[in-house]
Amino acid sequence: MIVFAILALFLVASALFTVTAKKPVYSVVGLLVNFIALAATYLTLQAEFLAVIQIVVYSGAILILFVFVIALLSSGTRAFSLGPDRMPRVAIPGILFAALACGAIAVTATRTSLAVQPTAGATGDANVFGSVANFGAALFTTNLLPFEVTAFILMVAVIGVVLIAGDEGPAGVPRRKKRRSGPREPIVKPEPLVR
């Protein structure tokens, strides 16, 4: 319980820092702390493989991607300010969602059906639960089709990124033809062929 409290403190604090930081780089640092704390939380939940994946994919790949894009877009960023014109459209959904979240927490805390005993409705062995072998066996036998769909999604994502951002060649030369700056020539209908 003490470990959970410390991790929850880290998670909430780093999430708040991520959201309220002035510069995106600070947000990345907050997000890094958040991801590592979440990986530790996964470990307390016996999800070993997910903890490793969390570190590798999120802290390793996605955050590096964010840092690269921030370095790419080093143009001036506005300081974080919550203007008066933005307050109403923020406050109403915020209050609504806070009420919803509080209701959900209350329902979750009071309903005993959520606090199942580990044996009730258990489909796996509690001793091997969450191990990498158990996860891999489930991923490659029962859930093979979702796994392959995942591979397809990643391939589509790679192609999409190349199509979206790969507009310029390796030497900074635009691959597409430059549009002429002058006015376009009027479209002339071809003369009908005279025999």
């Binding site: 319980m1 959970f4 929850a8 909430v12 999430a15 991520t18 959201v19 995106p24 947000s27 990345v28 997000l31 958040n34 979440l38 996964y42 307390t44 939940l45 016996q46 999800a47 493989f49 997910l50 969390q54 994919v57 999120y58 790949a61 996605i62 964010f66 894009v69 790419l72 877009l73 143009s75 001036g76 506005r78 974080f80 919550l82 923020v90 915020g94 969602f97 806070a98 979240a101 959900a104 927490i105 979750t108 805390a109 959520l114 606090a115 199942v116 580990p118 044996t119 409705g121 258990a122 639960f129 996860f135 489930a138 859930n143 995942t150 999604i153 990643l154 994502a157 979206i164 951002a165």
Partner: protein, 101 residues
């Protein structure tokens, strides 16, 4: 000594709330994307907590798929952001008005 799953679900709800506030309030697209990552992570936390409560692997599998989709989403969204804001002086989603009627 184990922690009841309600605590994890409550923590997940709090993180989700923070992420939603970030998406709504912030106008910097990069920080909005990071808030979306927070949302993904809170959903994953709930999935893993319920997987632990029921001693069922399906939650782990689903969280794994969510992580994959989050990676794809981050890559594509960051490419769009990089292309969109390459020449603007301020990185602000309010300035994306090219399709405004």
């Amino acid at each position: 000594m184990s922690v009841a799953p309600e605590n994890y679900v409550a923590l997940s709800a709090v993180l989700f709330f923070i992420g939603v506030v970030g998406v709504i309030v912030r106008r910097n697209p990069l920080i909005m994307l990071m808030s979306i990552e927070l949302l993904f992570n809170s959903a994953n936390l709930a999935l893993v907590a319920f997987a632990r409560a029921w001693v069922n692997n399906a939650g782990h599998i689903f969280a794994f798929l969510v992580i994959t989709v989050a990676a794809a989403e981050a890559a594509i969204a960051l490419a769009i952001v990089a292309v969109t804001f390459r020449r603007t002086p301020h990185v602000d989603v309010d300035e994306v008005a090219a399709l405004k009627g």
